[in-house]
Symmetry: C2
Subunit: 241 residues, 2 copies
């Protein structure tokens, strides 16, 4: 009814599970750490499901390499991507007995998995989890502002700036840089996934990107590869300045 074009319509025949999980924020490219706690490592191809919403939540996952998204579905098929994870992020920690999101890979991914009880006793690990959850929380706060208060243009600009390390943050490095105020980005997400992350439709995302092209802010090298021609100008569009 009030819904945007539904995920379930696009993907007929999907059986939905239900309820309980988590997500993150991080930096590096390959990170070991749960390994120390006797984790098993699993490998995934792009667009494979790590777990479904409603699966029993008795293990802790750590993204070691690649990219994973967490999303929730409404019964009529509307989808919201609630977090996009990067290497180092911990996920799958439940509040109840079941996962509350579905976790699906965006790229090839390496995931460390440990049984919950296995590490419940380690203070070191508890501290690490706390740190990680707090960081993820902060990202979720930021995202709530985006979803609740930003225009389509601001959402897409914010999304792109999040992919630029060391820019747009508290102490932005500024456009210094040898070679001008420009950056090459790899998206790892389809327009549909971006739309479901930003609370928009695929058409709106496409239109905004076209508008940015028209203004000379970006060059679309490939569908999943964008060159920011004016990083600072893009940053101005995020609504944070």
């Amino acid at each position: 009814m009030e819904g945007r074009m539904a995920y379930l319509d696009r993907n007929p025949g999907i059986d939905i599970a239900q309820r309980t999980a988590v997500f993150g924020t991080a930096v590096a490219d390959e990170v070991p750490s749960l390994a120390a706690f006797g984790a098993k490592t699993s490998h995934f191809k792009p667009h494979e499901v790590v777990y479904y919403e409603g699966d029993p939540a008795d293990r802790i996952f750590e993204l070691a390499k690649g990219s994973v998204m967490l999303f929730k579905l409404l019964p009529d098929g509307r989808r919201q991507v609630v977090e996009v994870l990067r290497p180092g992020d911990i996920f799958g920690i439940p509040a109840g007995k079941e996962q509350n999101c579905t976790a699906e890979t965006l790229t090839d991914a390496k995931v460390n998995v440990v049984d919950m009880n296995h590490i419940a006793g380690s203070p070191d690990f508890q501290r690490q989890i706390t740190r990680c959850l707090a960081a993820q929380m902060q990202v979720l706060h930021e995202h709530a502002v985006l979803l609740g208060r930003k225009s389509a243009m601001e959402r897409v600009a914010s999304f792109l700036m999040h992919l630029v390390p060391d820019r747009g943050g508290t102490e932005c490095a500024g456009p210094s840089e040898t070679g001008g105020d420009t950056r090459q980005l790899k998206l790892f997400m389809t327009r549909q996934e971006i739309a479901d992350y930003l609370g928009l439709t695929i058409e709106t995302v496409s239109r905004v990107i076209s508008e940015m092209k028209r203004r000379g802010l970006i060059t679309v090298e490939r569908n999943d590869e964008i060159r920011l021609n004016k990083v600072c100008a893009m940053c101005q569009l995020t609504g944070k300045h």
Copy 2:
């Protein structure tokens, strides 16, 4: 520009701080627990600020009694309430060195405060934090779906249903109840605060509430006191069924 009517326009002369924190989910009415770790207890009146975005984040807060909201502001004054806390919730745990939200009371409130280092060593407490953060995370996921994918009517219905314990959840108690499918709710929030929580304008919230009145779903006893006449029907409007 693309912004909704701005918080700063409504509250001229407010000086904004900036950056880093957290929030929650809970149950009881008065909860001690940090007390065991030598916490100091502070009392607050309604609409007092516990800390500002940008304040140094070196303490942990636990809401013992009352209600607190966390919000973020954009520079042009748009506000997003990112979490509404209940007794038992822990907040103020930073990802960086600064709070990333402003914390403001909604009601009279009692808050336990402990120095960060004071409890860093306790595994018991670490575990409790993890549990609490995971629960808050789940609420944030849910809220992202609301902000990204739900209509105004669905948002308000979801908001009201969140105030009804034991209903609308995974295993809803159903309309059994002695005395019919009805419930009295106290809001503790103004229309403006509700709007800023749900990513709407005050006018839209007001219109939706009026529409619910017209349909006989609710009776507005006072501005901050609403009677749900048909809890199940309200639940149907949340988009989760």
